[in-house]
């Protein structure tokens, strides 16, 4: 790395930052004493800070580019995590430890921690569901939160009108999610990319607006309160124990989700999704039913959102349309993209990082979201494939007729 021009660039960057942040960092109007305070020290801090950060940024970028050149073909395909995951001796004790940790988690941590964890696990389900649509089938869905809302309201309303319990509402919510997935799927069968994103965005908003404005049906912005937590074999639990109980339920559903999504990925449907993502014309030429594959993806993706919605309603005991804004869709999409599209482990870790991080960053109070945003940018620049990028199963070629000798290309 050529030092001098790099330092000069960093210097210019820091000057620019000092200029940009001048009005908010330096000038403060004290309205009580009617004076303007000039905090020149802040300018110095911003200058030094941005200079070093910019230099660090350039240094990391140049290192990244050099690193790509050094990597051989073999290393390029598998990241450190996926290589660790292949190591059988390591994976079994690690998995056992993880299992024990998850089981005793609510007993060693406070109800508050457990409650955060439940939220994170709900997002794991949402992320895995959206991963089917976005990661595998390559259909950009910005209205995914609509299915989440459908699930939550399914439980809320069914319980309010008919007194249905959690366990009955769970499959109903899943089925309704799937139904709405197909409902959205039909009009967008011919769309792709940006157009699809906009239509799904509209769909998500329509569902939210209906819930907000159709007072007779959904009780409008005031929402539905007093939704019962799941009862334990007919017993009503205290809040503390109900939280623990929901925690175990979510863990269970998450495990089932992971297994099913993992199996789907390697199935015929999964291969059809991947083909659809890669090339639509080729996909048709290979005899894959495009319409059915797309509808499958939407329906199966939405199923998990519906279930997550039911769990969410049971956990918070109160739902209103404010919980189902476009921001939620974006967060779920971030989980999928940041975790690693198409990779189950990636999506799980993405959900945990993205949901737990803002909670634990509360110590930084108002800078919380700033730091969060910076981490997102950093992640995408330095690990564009996600935390754990997708490594598809490698099929070994079993025939011995073809040897590995390089053959003359004539």
């Amino acid at each position: 790395m050529n030092l001098f021009p790099e330092l000069r660039k960093s210097f210019i960057a820091s000057l620019w930052f000092m200029f940009l942040t001048f009005p908010i960092m330096v000038i403060r109007v004290n309205t009580i004493e009617n004076i303007v305070e000039w905090r020149w020290m802040n300018l110095v801090f911003v200058g030094i800070g941005s200079f070093f950060l910019s230099w660090l940024w350039r240094y990391l970028l140049s290192r990244k580019e050099m690193g790509v050149n050094k990597k051989t073909d073999d290393q390029d395909r598998t990241s450190l995590v996926s290589r660790l995951m292949k190591n059988k001796q390591l994976i079994i004790p690690a998995a056992a430890l993880l299992a024990i940790f998850t089981i005793i988690f609510p007993h060693i941590f406070s109800t508050y921690q457990t409650s955060i964890m439940i939220t994170a696990l709900i997002y794991v389900m949402l992320g895995l569901g959206l991963n089917i649509v976005v990661g595998l089938a390559g259909l950009l869905d910005l209205g995914y939160v609509a299915f989440y809302a459908v699930g939550a309201y399914a439980y809320g309303l069914l319980n309010y009108h008919f007194g249905l319990g959690f366990w009955t509402a769970l499959p109903v919510g899943a089925a309704l999610g799937a139904l709405f997935g197909i409902l959205l799927g039909f009009p967008v069968l011919r769309l792709r990319g940006d157009y699809l994103a906009i239509v799904t965005l509209g769909f998500g908003e329509i569902i939210r607006l209906i819930l907000e404005n159709w007072n007779e049906f959904s009780f409008g912005p005031s929402g539905i309160a007093n939704i019962p937590r799941p009862s334990f074999f007919g017993m009503d639990l205290s809040i503390q124990w109900a939280t623990v109980y929901i925690y175990y339920i979510v863990i269970g559903i998450c495990c089932i989700t992971i297994v099913i999504v993992g199996r789907l990925q390697d199935s015929r449907i999964g291969r059809a999704w991947i083909a659809l993502r890669e090339d639509e014309i080729a996909c048709q030429a290979m005899g894959i039913d495009k319409a059915r594959t797309k509808l499958n993806a939407f329906a199966l993706g939405a199923t998990w959102a519906g279930m997550a919605g039911v769990v969410f309603a049971a956990k918070t005991t109160f739902i209103n349309p404010a919980s189902f804004t476009i921001w939620e869709s974006i967060i779920i999409l971030c989980i999928v993209v940041l975790g690693g599209m198409g990779s189950v482990v990636g999506v799980v870790s993405g959900a945990l990082v993205l949901i737990l991080l803002p909670e634990y960053l509360r110590a930084f109070s108002e800078y919380r979201l700033l730091i969060f945003g910076a981490i997102l940018i950093f992640m995408m620049v330095f690990r564009p494939g996600g935390i754990v990028s997708d490594v598809r199963r490698v099929y070994r070629f079993e025939s011995s007729a073809m040897d590995d000798k390089p053959q003359e290309y004539s």
Partner: protein, 235 residues
């Protein structure tokens, strides 16, 4: 085997095919030649159902296939090598081939066919764990042809296999197309700009202009036809 009768196909308001009649017998290589925009690709797209014709009929082995969905047509045994290759760029060569056999359930037959296409294109066997997008243009074309063969089609539709390839590789690929036709009796419907080479391996040919078939003859006669030589062979 395949009979296209009075097919008219539109893209929106624009009529691409103005009543096409083509007949292909079992085991033949038929080539469709013509200038850019004549409607060659549209003819193939109409047969494979990706762009369904607005009127006219297409029969495959005596049964009408007009109006069927693309995947139903593939199931009947018509497979297309799309123009511009359209391989799956992030799947490996092996996975690409597996996608070709998507509708088949006979694992043994699939394995046999995989060995067969590797014997046709040994270079693909060397590259079998490489992502499709990292192959050279010629290799990608080979992969596209192999992938279509994995469906074990009775009628293979090929759209410009010579597109953007070096003359040497084009000749190699055409040699293999002839070989596929001779060895497995696969009927081939070849759409080509490179009229000279296409007519050399084909049995019969059709000449297309502005959405109409203007001439049809045996390939040898077309090669000697004064008009065709002037218009398409550049002699």
């Amino acid at each position: 085997m395949l009979k296209i009768s009075d097919v008219k196909t539109y893209y929106g308001n624009i009529q691409a095919l103005k009543g096409i009649n083509v007949e292909i017998a079992q085991g033949e290589i038929i080539t469709l030649i013509g200038a850019n925009g004549a409607g060659k690709t549209t003819t193939l797209m109409s047969v494979s159902g990706i762009v369904p014709p607005r009127s006219g009929d297409i029969f495959f082995e005596g049964n009408p296939i007009t109006g069927l969905k693309p995947h139903e047509i593939v199931e009947l045994g018509i497979c297309q090598v799309p123009e511009g290759r359209h391989i799956f760029p992030y799947l490996t060569v092996l996975e690409n081939l597996d996608m070709g056999a998507f509708l088949r359930k006979d694992a043994d037959g699939v394995r046999q066919d995989r060995d067969y296409v590797f014997s046709l294109f040994p270079i693909l066997a060397n590259r079998r764990h490489q992502a499709g997008g990292t192959l050279s243009g010629g290799e990608q074309q080979m992969l596209a042809i192999s992938r279509a063969l994995m469906a074990r089609p009775r009628l293979l539709l090929m759209d410009e296999p010579s597109l953007g390839l070096a003359p040497l590789i084009v000749r190699q690929i055409f040699g293999i197309i002839k070989k596929i036709n001779e060895e497995s009796r696969t009927t081939i419907f070849l759409v080509e700009q490179n009229a000279n080479l296409a007519l050399k391996i084909a049995h019969r040919g059709y000449v297309m202009e502005n959405g109409r078939i203007t001439q049809t003859d045996t390939a040898a006669d077309l090669l000697n036809n004064e008009d065709v030589r002037k218009a398409y062979l550049g002699v």
